[in-house]
Amino acid sequence: MQEIIDSLQQFWSFTGFCNCSWQHLLMIVVGIVLITLGIVKKWEPLLLVPIGFGILIGNIPLPEGMQIGIYEEGSVLNILYQGVIKGWYPPLIFLGIGAMTDFSCLIAQPRLMLIGAAAQIGIFGAFLLALALGFTPDEAGAIGIIGGADGPTAIFLSSRLAPELMGAIAVSAYSYMALVPVIQKPVMLLLTTRKERLIRMKSPREVSQRERIIFPIVAFLITAFIVPSGLPLLGMLFFGNLLKESGVTKRLAETARGPLIDVVTTLIGLTVGASTQADRFLTKESFLIFVLGLCSFIIATFCGVLFAKFMNLFLKEGQKINPLIGNAGVSAVPDSARVSETVGRQFDKDNHLLMHAMAPNVAGVIGSAIAAGILLSFLG
């Protein structure tokens, strides 16, 4: 009889109930909130649902030494997590992004690329703020990249510079990407006049297939020569795009933008979520990271819109840019371009900015990969 009670007691000590703390419960609530936002509000469901469930997985209270937790070497979760730690998931995602991105709006209006560059100032604004708040340069760099509004880039850079902060950085990058409409709209309205919001832009010219094939090759060579440290991201991005545009590698392109990116997104979301264990996640740093991430999004939107207005100073009437596409320089493809469209149509319901906004939007992806490369070469 005593033996039975003993083994029951022993079993009890293994269960989650015994090892539970309020932090675990809080994180479980966070996970459920993210899942709910993904499913009910449809905010980035492909990311928030895996991350949310990952948080549930990561926050089941475990006794030490069972070779199950994500931080215990050799456990199943730990092996899946290697792709995040060693940073080989993000380039694979970039391959898929390249294979699904149409750069033709960018090729048609190359000058809009500069807006994508301007929005990257948000990264460095947050970088400086983080330094001022006492983060080390490495940590500050990893936090700043949240302003690139690009999940894979953020994970890639933070796995290099500040692996211990990666969970918070990734979760905050992805949540703010989902919140882009809420964050960007007030900034856009604040900075633009009614007249500017009504500017109509000429529809982009048609781009020939030859131009679209040459673009990834030229763009890769230029950007990679300037920032070799961005090689994994830039190389995969443009390689994926070449697969898409070449016309002869349709199968590879379809795999890259379909099954491959789906597999990697699932794994990255799940393991990043699971890495947010209560004791590592519920810290003052995480809170600061969330605040800084928000700042970087706001600064980035600010700079994008202001830069569009700045460019207008030099452009002739009829060529002017509607500054409402400035926000789209923050990558978050295609969410921020969609914000341009919705806000634009609020003021002129026949003024479609979506395709114009896609140009700074995809330029933002290139820009944030370059910025990540620069930060890596200075800090890494």
């Binding site: 149409d102 690329m113 560059a117 990257q120 763009a219 920032v227 969609r338």
Partner: protein, 217 residues
Amino acid sequence: MRNGLIISLVAVLVVFVSLAVLAILYRLLGEAFRRYGRKNGRAEAASDGKSAPETSGGNDIKTEETQLPEEPQGIHDRESYVITIGHGKPDFGSENARPHSPSGNAGTARPYSPAARTHQYSAQDESAGRKDTAENVPAQTAQPASADTITASLPGTITEIRVSAGDTVKAGQIVAILSAMKMDNEIEAEYSGTVAAVNVNPGDNVREGSVIITLSR
């Protein structure tokens, strides 16, 4: 901190320079291509993954061509089109009859019209001609006042059609949903009238200016 400021400045500069180099280079390339394209007339546009629909025979065959499983953003230049062969006078006849529309130039010419499809052949043959006119010469207002078209204002995929031929629509009524970049756009009727023809099917990719619905007032 001072270091950080320097890093930031340098980094912002580098981001700008690399994208600016890319922009300038592509600007020049684009111009070169346009010049090249002009020299070669429409050959460039036609070789762009699509060619004008060939017509042959008198069979009542509905062919579906180049249905590419592309994302909406991929449809700039490729799209699905349905050709109805040999029923009455197919309306791409009118398209082929004047391959160089007055407003067309090498850069923007559409090798064929996505509107070149007939779903309601009998009543539509005549209005289809007008519809083509309306599409290729959007600036011209001198078109028969009895027919009007509702066109796509941006490229995307038609996900829903809310009216069918014969329905009366009021100005401002939502007639179709066009999805672009995962975003649903409501397409409204600009005028009140009767639907003469629905020119697309749900799931079709359309480009800017494609006719979605033909109205008669």
